[in-house]
Symmetry: C2
Subunit: 309 residues, 2 copies
């Protein structure tokens, strides 16, 4: 799967992920009207509106990008109906040939992590049969519990040729509270990054590991350091766009081969129609606004990378 991700990045010239983190407040009036008309102002209605919204964005951007990153919380808030749409979204993105990074940030003690790994990346055994359920290609994982909480995810990834992005330095304002705390002069996240490199050696692709890391665009200095500590890890970079990260901040997240990082934007793409810059498209053409926002993001990152060559 890391090979597929790399091939798709090379083919699209776009180290870019679209974050499918829908909120009802992003969904255009005409879609809400249709779904609420059919199902009422119910969880079913909300779920249908979000599904239609997602489908529009996927249809309008899938040829430009290698991967999507649905944030499961945005679906989980609508309960079972929401999670049904999460699954439908993953399946539909697979139909369109996209790599799917499930942003689930799971992580627990060993036996529990094994269950999460089964549900999101693997296959569950029932009697003599096996079933895959949520079936993402990669998921994000929280490292706070250490190796025995991570290992079961890696075991399933090896069986299924899938991968992980492990939180190292997150993009949010208070990420430093624990992650930046200095131990012998080095922040906690550096120790986490060293472990990611170790864990990554357990499951290598050709040039990169199946085990990557999350380092936020909002902390470019951390990106520069972590690039060196984890040379074989792909870095998933959130925080571009709506959270404040810019293309120029991102150059040090990449290796000299021009690979090694993939930049996520969520709101900046899927709610583009609500931004002044793309207001001209009008709410009905929200998907076209998203497409334009993807094109602009690809160009911004490409220019930043060209500037350092």
């Amino acid at each position: 799967m890391i090979q597929k991700l790399i091939e798709k990045i090379k083919k699209t010239h776009a180290p870019v992920v679209v974050g499918l983190d829908p909120a009802l407040s992003y969904v255009p009036e005409h879609l809400l009207k249709k779904s609420f008309g059919e199902y009422g102002e119910t969880l079913e209605g909300a779920a249908d509106a979000i599904w239609q919204f997602n489908k529009g964005i996927i249809d309008s951007t899938y040829d430009l990008i290698p991967a999507v990153k649905p944030q499961i919380a945005m679906y989980e808030q609508f309960g079972l109906r929401g999670l049904e749409v999460f699954q439908k979204t993953v399946d539909y993105c697979h139909e369109k040939g996209l790599v799917v990074i499930g942003d689930v940030k799971r992580g627990d003690i060993g036996s529990t992590s094994a269950a999460y790994a089964t549900g999101h990346l693997g296959r569950v055994t029932v009697g003599n049969s096996q079933f895959s359920t949520f079936n993402e290609d990669f998921i994000t994982v929280n490292p706070y519990l250490g190796t025995d909480g991570i290992r079961p995810f890696i075991d399933v990834c090896k069986e299924e040729n899938k991968g992980l992005f492990i939180l190292v330095k997150t993009s949010n304002p208070s990420s430093g509270e624990f992650q930046d705390r200095l131990c012998d002069g080095r922040p906690v996240y550096e120790y986490v990054g060293e472990k990611v490199a170790e864990w990554g050696a357990m499951h290598m692709g050709e040039s990169y590991s199946y085990i990557g890391a999350v380092v936020g665009a909002t902390y470019p200095e951390a990106g520069r350091v972590m690039r060196k500590i984890m040379p074989k890890a792909f870095i998933l970079v959130p925080g571009y766009g709506a959270q404040g990260g810019k293309g120029a901040d991102l150059v040090h997240y990449f290796n000299e081969d021009g690979l090694g990082a993939i930049v996520n934007s969520s709101r900046g793409i899927i709610a583009a129609h609500q931004q002044e810059q793309y207001a001209r498209f009008g709410e009905e053409h929200y998907a076209e606004a998203s497409r334009q926002a993807v094109l602009d993001m690809i160009q911004d990152i490409d220019q930043a990378l060209q500037a350092v060559v």
Copy 2:
């Protein structure tokens, strides 16, 4: 909800939580046969077997205990059908008057944590209506992202009179990798505990905060220290029983009022019928074996607490 938890602990004389973490391998043959007979060896069949299994344990223990702690991963591994049983289990435990601690270990950047809080503790708004979905009373939360990842959970807890247990020092063998790393001579988990005390002040009950902590039974020295650092926080203590913790290890997790901690056992209770000690009940009477295991656990903890008075 913290008041309800305290009242129920006082009434049952049992600072005990039953961890509803079912696996198909725990489910007795007669239940599997029935569910697979009805639904086949399918996800539906597995989900039904687990639901019947849970129901038996709840029916046979609810009068002895204040609370249950379903581990969502064990349901999530069966996909949507599994999560349906998670929800059914939460609802059924509420019918039986139990406090439900959803062991979900969620945690993300602010806007995403807000969505998790909505789905698990709050109500989601759809048009002019509001719906609660998973509706646990407490959930466990991962602190790695710091205050702005925790704050949205606290906000929803304040609206709904609900609470959190925040991971401080987990029970698993490699929890020390990051949690024990020394910063200025003190382990990371102490800094997390100090934050829990700070966050707890934002949402106080009468004598304890709605914001508690998780400290594993397998690290009793951490329990002793954290008890002092977070005097108003209820401590949820995993790792008793199958993971190796004993009653005698637990005394320092409690305050002098005999409160302040609640001890979880999962496998030790729900798979009691598979242990030599309870084999006499026979697989068909797994629920009675669970009841006996709860009674023994209550006695073990009570004796340990009496010994220090």
